[in-house]
Structures are given as C-alpha cells and as structure tokens.
Amino acid sequence: MSLPLVVFLPFLGALIAPLFAQGGRTAIAIASSVPALIGLAALFPHWETVADGGSVLYTLNWLPAIGLSFSFRLDGLALLFSLLILIIGILIILYARYYLKKKENIGKFYAMLLCFKGSMLGIVLSGNLLLMMIFWELTSLTSFLLISFWNHKQDARRGARMALAVTGGGGLALLAGILIIGNIVGSFELDAVLAAGDQIKAHAMYPVALTLVLLGAFTKSAQFPFHFWLPHAMQAPTPVSAYLHSATMVKAGVFLMARLYPALAGTEQWFYMVSFTGMATLLLGAYVAMFKHDLKGLLAHSTVSHLGLITLLLGMGTKLAAVAAIFHVINHATFKASLFMAAGIIDHETGTRDMRRINGLWRFMPHTATLAMVAAASMAGVPLLNGFLSKEMFFAESLHVNLPAFLTWLPPTVATLAGIFAVAYSARFIHDVFFNGSPVNLPVYPPHEPPRYMKIPVEILVFACLMVGMFPAFSVGPLLYAASYATLDGQVPEYHLTILHGINLPLMMSIGAFIGGLVMYSQRHKLFALHARFREIDEKAIFDKVVSQLADLAHRFTGSIENGSLQRYSMLLIVSVIAVAIVPILSLGVFVGESGLSPVDWPTGIGAAILIVSALATAFAHRERFIALVLLSVVGLMVALGFARFSAPDLAMTQLSVEVVTIVLLMLALYYMPSWTPRESLAGRRTRDVILAVVAGVGMTLITLAMLTQPFSSISDFFLENSKTGGGGTNVVNVILVDFRGFDTLGEITVLAIAALGIYAMLKDTALTPPPSDGQGHAWTRDSHPLMLKQLARPLLPLALMVSAYIFLRGHNLPGGGFIAGLITSVALVVQYIASGMVWTQDRIRFKYHNVIGLGLMFATLAGVGSFIFGYPFLTSTFSYIKWPVVGKFEVASAMIFDLGVYLTVIGATLLALVSIGRLSPHSAIKSPRERS
C-alpha cells in the first residue's frame, strides 16, 4: 500500500498545499514538502528487500480486459529515481520559496510542481507499462504548465508548446511501441515484460517496437535530433529548469531505456540506434554549450550533452557501461541541479543571465561562487568530485565498444572531444562569471549574496558531489548496486568504486581533455570569431515552419471536406454509410435465407404497390411541394395500414395519428415557405444523387430480404411470459413501454419535451411574413374558416376526448396507451385550431402547454420515485384489481400514473410545437385571413 501512497500523496498535496497560501510563503513551502517527506519515510522500510536485488509489488486490477492494472513495483532502479525525485524535489521547494517574487502566485507554482512530482514518481514506480504511459503523458502536461508558468511571456508560451509538441509526439510513439510489446508478451505487467526479453527480441515486430519506444525516450531525454526543445524550455522559472531539465523529466527517457534494458537491449539494432544517437547528442550539445552567452543556455546544452553521454553508455551494450550510465545519472543530477540553482541565484541578484555582462562576481558573492565553482568542476570532471568518477568509467568503456575494426577509434575520440568541450564550457562558467574583470552594465548593481536559506539546497547538493567524489563506495555504493541489479536483471559485473584506478589510458584521456579544454578556453575569442562565421541553425525557425506547414495542410484538408455546405455533408454521410456497409452486404452472398419466401396476397400487394408508387411520385414531384406533400401523406397512411396488416395494432394507431399531426405541421410550414422548389442542381449532380439513392435502396432491400428470410429466436418470450404476471397487463407492447422498459420511455418523453421547448425557444422572437400568394400567382383564399368544418369540429372535440380517455384506460390490456391517447387528444385540439383559428381556440384554452409538459414529466418521474417509498428500485410498478360499479372488475396499476405522464407530455409537446409555428406570422395569430388581405 505504501507505493501508491508515495505516488498519490503529491497529487493530494497539490490540492491541499495552496490552502496554506494565506499563511505566507514559508507555510506553503512547508506544506508542500510534506508529501515528499512522507514518501521518503514510506520507502525506507523497503530498503532491505531492494538492496539485495528484490522487488516490492503492489497490484490492483483496474481494467483487466485491456491489460491495464493498478500495479506499482519498487526495485533498485525505481528506488534510485524515486530518491532523486523526492530529495531534489524538497530542495527545489525550499529554493523556489526564495526564488519566486512576492507578487507571483506561489500556491499555483507549488501545486503544479507537486503534480509533476507525482507524475514522475508514477513513471518510475509503475509496475504496468500502460499505467506508466499515463504518468508519462502527465509529466508532459504538467511540464507544459510549469515551463509556461510565466505565461505573460510569449517566449515562455512558445517554449512550453514546443516541449509539449515534441515530448507529446514522442509519447504517442511510445504508446504504440508499448502496445506492440504488450501484444508480443501478452501482458503489460513489467515483471512479465522484463522476463520475456528473448521472446520480444526474436519477434518480427521487435525493430518496430524498439524504434517506437526509443522515439519516446529520445524525445523526452532531448536526444538529437529532438534536442532543440530543451534549450527553449529554459524560459521556465529556474527552479523548474533545475528540477525538470536536469534531475527528473529529461531523465525519464533515460530511465525508460534502463527500465526496459533487459527486455530490449543487447541487439544490433539497439546498439546502433542508441549509441550513435547518444554520440551525436553528446558532441553536439557540448559544442553548442561552448558558444552560448546565456548562462542557462550553456547549462541546457551541457545537459543535452550529458544526456547523450548516458544514452551512449546505455547503447554500448556492455554491462559495465550500463552501471556507468546509472552512476552518471546520479552524478549529473546532483551537479547540474546545483549549477542551475546557482545560475538562478546569479540571475536573481544581477537581473541578467548574459555572461558578457556578468563578470567578476567573486567579489560580490564569494559563498555562491565557491559552491558554483565546485559544481562546475564536477561537471568538467575534476578528480575528487563525482563527475570525475563516472567520466572515467565512460572513458574506459569507450575503449571497449564492440565496433567493426575500422571504427574502434570513433567512441574514444568522440569521448575525448566531448571531454575537451566540457572542460572548456565549465571553465567558461567559472572564469567568465566569477572573474574576468568587472560586471558590465548590470540591471541590478551591486549584486549581493542571496538569502541564507536559498543557498542551503545548493550546499547540500555540492556536499553530495564531494561525498560521492571522495567516498563513492561508502556513499552511493549500495544504491548503485541495487539499481544496476535491477537494470541488468541480476547480472551485475565486477566493478570498483575507487578514486584512482592507476595510471591507465582513461586517465590519460582525462588529462588530455583537461589540458585541451583549458587551451580551448584560452583561445575562446578566436573560436567565437570562427563560430560566428557559420550561420547558426535556428531549430526554432525550422520547428515553427514545420508546425505551420502542418497546420496549413490540416487547414487545406479540413477545408476540402468541410466547405460549409450541408448538402455536401449529407452526401458525404450517405457515401460513407454505403462504403462501410457495402463489403459486409456483398459478403452475405445469398439474400434469401433458409425460411424462404411466403406468398403474397392481393390486398397486401396492392397496398405495397400504392406505397411504392406514392413514394416514387413524392420524389419525382418534390418541386411541386404541395402535391409532394399530399403524396407523402399517402405513403404514411399505407405504412400505418402495413402495421395493421402485420399484426401491430398499437403501431398502426400511433402511425396514423402521428401522420395527421406531421402533415398538419408540414402544411403549416409550407404556408410560410415558397410552394415550389427551383431547379438548381446540375444534371450531373442529379444523376449522382439518383445513383446514390438507388444504391442505398437496393442495399436496404437486400439487407431486409436477408434478415426476413432468416430463422430467428427472440428474447421476447420473456416479455410474453412475464407481462401479465409481472406487469399486470395483457398488451405486451404497452407493458414493455411503461413497465419493463419504463426508464427508456422516461428518457424518450424527456427528449420529446426538450424538442418541443427547443422549438418554442427557436421561434419565440421570430417573425415570418408569409408570401402574399402561393408563388404561382394564386392569392390565398378569402374565405374565413370554413363553416362546415367549424360546425363539425366543435362537437367532435368531446367525442374525441372520450375516445382518447377510453384508449388510454384500456391501453394496459388492449391496443392503446398514453402515447396513442395523447396523440388522439392532440389531433382533436389541432382540428379546433384549424377550424376556428388561433385566437378563438387560444382564448378557450386557458393553460400553457409548457405546464402540461412539466406536469407530464412530473407524473412520470413521481411514478418512478414513488417506488423508493416502498423500498423498491426506481420505476417498480405494482397493480391490483378494484370493482367499479357499472364498469365491473377493473385493474389499477401504478404504471398508469406513469402512462398519464406520457399522455400529458405527448399532448403538451405536440401542441406547443404546432402552436409555436402557427403564431409565427405576426398577422395570423391576431387577425383572420380576411382582415389580413
């Protein structure tokens, strides 16, 4: 349990720590340190297990179906990285307390820093690759926020975006790689993956998986050619650079390579890809660092170079090289974090980071200068400091790289050359900043020593550099052994952590690098002049260009599909439906299944023929809108008859009443619209549409035929068996609607209500004047509401209401129910509007349809909630029988209350929609047509 605790406490802390902002910056800094302190305490008891090469595992199933588990695993490698993250994290919090200005939002800063810390711990402690991937992406996101902390600066925003684009893109590649690995191994659990190294390496997909995983690692660890984001991320506040870009985030890529070392390393592909990338990065970073005038720029490129060194070591393939790589991870984190902090102090106290202006600071801040000089000496690889030890190991290993004979000179040469540059830029850091004359035109003058506590983190880290440098076996020996054990799957080679191994070739290389570096630094002015002759490659410009080209491409692509024409979208939609469906349909092969065809009787055949002819005629006559509408209503009527013919009385009644309402609705709409459609489409488009329509129609015919002639079994027997006993009704359709699937129906009437209210809202303040004539020169009729219709409609209303009440009441047992009764009532009321006009009818209907809808939904919901009172789940229904005089034995089901809700909602929604359209014209609602003309 302690492992998830270590990972999730920082996230919890991110929520809680900002609450201490009222207590001042010290209070919030202390609060923010708590998660890391608890984390350290929680890891401590596991040391004994891990030191001997054991591992601690905590697993909880999360989504077992996709192999994602909530599993955390602690071994030597994970412990080493956890300690770096936690300890340097605490130092950074202390440092940032003094670094950030008073007006800056330190609560937000600490919250983001803690989120980052938690994500980073998640990466190193995950025991499942998918889980690790989640934390991996979280570090990309949180680092984006941290780099852009000063989001008023455009450079900071751009740098953050670049970092996110590069590391996020790498993250996608990594995800793909992990999925392939998981597919090969059959599990995403780290234990299983590490044990399946041979299986992975023998698999045909291994090169692909390796390339993808390495893409993720290289982008994260700023390896060439993806290194450019790191220098641009230096726009971040310095505590962020010190934490993310020296000790933790950029090490995530290195960590990943070390983590998957047993699973992926040891092949030719690994060797060439990793070691040559590392070599290029090592040299490039060291070279560029020399020529940067920005203090943080120098450190950033030096970081790139050191990351290249670690990568190169991991790529070499020898076991000792892997040990050296891990050793250098520790050393680089300590000296580089302290150097960044020192750079931050100098920036803080002088107001600039330009080394051409910062000179001779020794006189102003000797304490800071001493610390920075020790750390820089470690970076250069001066003996008695930790940087020297791992660099010696690196030099020694570079002599044993397994390369073809004509290339064996390459690694030692590159190593020595990079060493020379490292000495030169370290010398520059020391000499240029602290000596070399007097400060030039500093924004803040004279500079002072920083607050006492701001130096403590630097002191601790520099002390660590010295301790490791002088007593390596004592200070880091056990931890290094445990981490190497985990990386090398237990096969730790013999190695000696001593300061001097005697006079040998690596030592000579070190001495050579040292002298060469000092010479190079002394000749720096000539070098700068030479360097200035070459045009510097501006990675940012290239990156921006690529991004803008991609954006243009995306724009063009989107524009080519999405041109704003709905007509075109409909066409694309139908084309894609056809494209998706056509292969499965053709693969069906036989379209008449085992059941075969049944004979057609005459009435059905004639009905179908009428339907087909009317539908075709609707399409042909669609430009004459009124005629098309009449033909459409014939189709609807035939569909209703079809339902009746094939044993669905409920559907027939629903279809019939909906048909009436729909046609009235369309007639109303047609009143405002032009009554004919102009011929616009070109012949080519019409032909295309006809072809699409025919393909779609033939496809549906074939699917329907295939479906209808297949024998089938249905789940409906359940409903038939339980309708009477469980739902208390014999009309199974109605019982399904109000009981078995009542929740569904509740959702559906809610949709109905929302649609009606949406219609009301859309038309509320809209006025639409109907055209004065029907568009073909015929003026509207001057007749008022026809007398015959008026006289017939009025007595019809009570009759229709009685019928609908009857239909409603019998619905549970015979065809009928809330939906149909509601529609019948609506039709009866609509007839009044048609016959007697808006004003007359509205005068007599004294309630708002909104309220009817609300009441209906309330009844339906209350019928559901009522079940709770009796301790049953939502919408449980009950029923019993009562004896009414005259009517006789009568059944009362609680589902009837629900059905009443359906009834009211249907009436309210239908009429609200129609009345909203009806009163659209400012004239029609007030005046009769006679007055209007």
Binding site: Q154, D544, V547, D552, G559, N563, G564, Q567, S570, M571, I574, L597, V600, T604, I612, T618, H622, R625, V639, G642, F646, A648, D650, T654, V661, T662, L666, A669, L670, M673, S681, D689, L692, A693, V694, A696, G697, G699, M700, T701, I703, T704, M707, I715, S716, L720, T730, N731, V732, V733, I736, D744, E748, L752, I759, T766, F819, L914, I917, L920
Partner: protein, 123 residues
C-alpha cells in the same frame, strides 16, 4: 411477402436519400420523413412478419414479437419531434437568411484565421 416488404423499404430508402440530398429545406424534411418510415418498418421487420396475430395475451395463439413494436412506437413519436424540430430550423433559417437553401448563408472561408492560430503557426 418478404420480397414485397423488402422492396417497400428499399423504395422508401431510395426516395428518402434522393430528397435528403436536395438543396432546399422542404424536400429535405420530406426526405427525412420517408427515410424514417423506412427505418421504422425495418426495425419492425426485425420481429418478422406475422399475419393475423397480436401482441395481446389471451387474444390469440399467434403472438407477434412485442419488443420491436415497443421500440418502433417510441421511434415514431420521437421521429415526429425531430421532424418538427427540423421544420422549425428550416423556418428559422428562412426568417434569418430570407432563403430556404440548406446551406444558409455562409461567410467566406478564409477569414477565420484566429489570433490563436496565428500564434501557433507563428505567422
């Protein structure tokens, strides 16, 4: 019988699709109505075609499949609500744009390079 039923659904689909692709709102609404007839009949047909039956217990020996019927019943009502909504959108389009073309009136495409995009692309 099955073939006739399939042809009916095919015709409804074909005419519906054709009208759906027209340029004016009213034919599109009619097209959608035809298409929804077709879809409803198709859903209904998934319970197979039964002659002379009922989904009413005790009234017959020949029960039809009640489940597709229940589904289609609500589909018909919701279909009406959607048709009404669409008609109102068409009317609103007519009121706002003084035109019943389905595309409405669109501003020119190129004018919308926003500030954010400019920053992303660095232009």
């Amino acid at each position: 019988m099955e073939l006739v039923f399939a042809l009916v659904i095919g015709t409804l689909t074909a005419t519906g699709v054709f009208l759906l692709l027209r340029a004016r709102t009213f034919p599109v609404v009619m097209g959608l109505t035809l298409l929804s007839y077709g879809v409803n009949l198709f859903l209904f047909a998934s319970g197979r075609l039964t002659t002379g039956g009922q989904p009413i217990l005790g009234s017959t020996d020949n029960y039809t499949d009640p489940l597709p019927q229940a589904l289609v019943l609500t589909a018909i009502v919701i279909g009406f609500a959607m048709t009404a909504f669409l008609v109102v959108m068409a009317l609103r389009n007519l009121a706002d744009n003084d035109d019943d073309h389905v595309d409405g009136k669109q501003p020119k495409q190129d004018a919308h390079t926003s500030k954010l995009e400019r920053e992303v692309t660095g232009k």
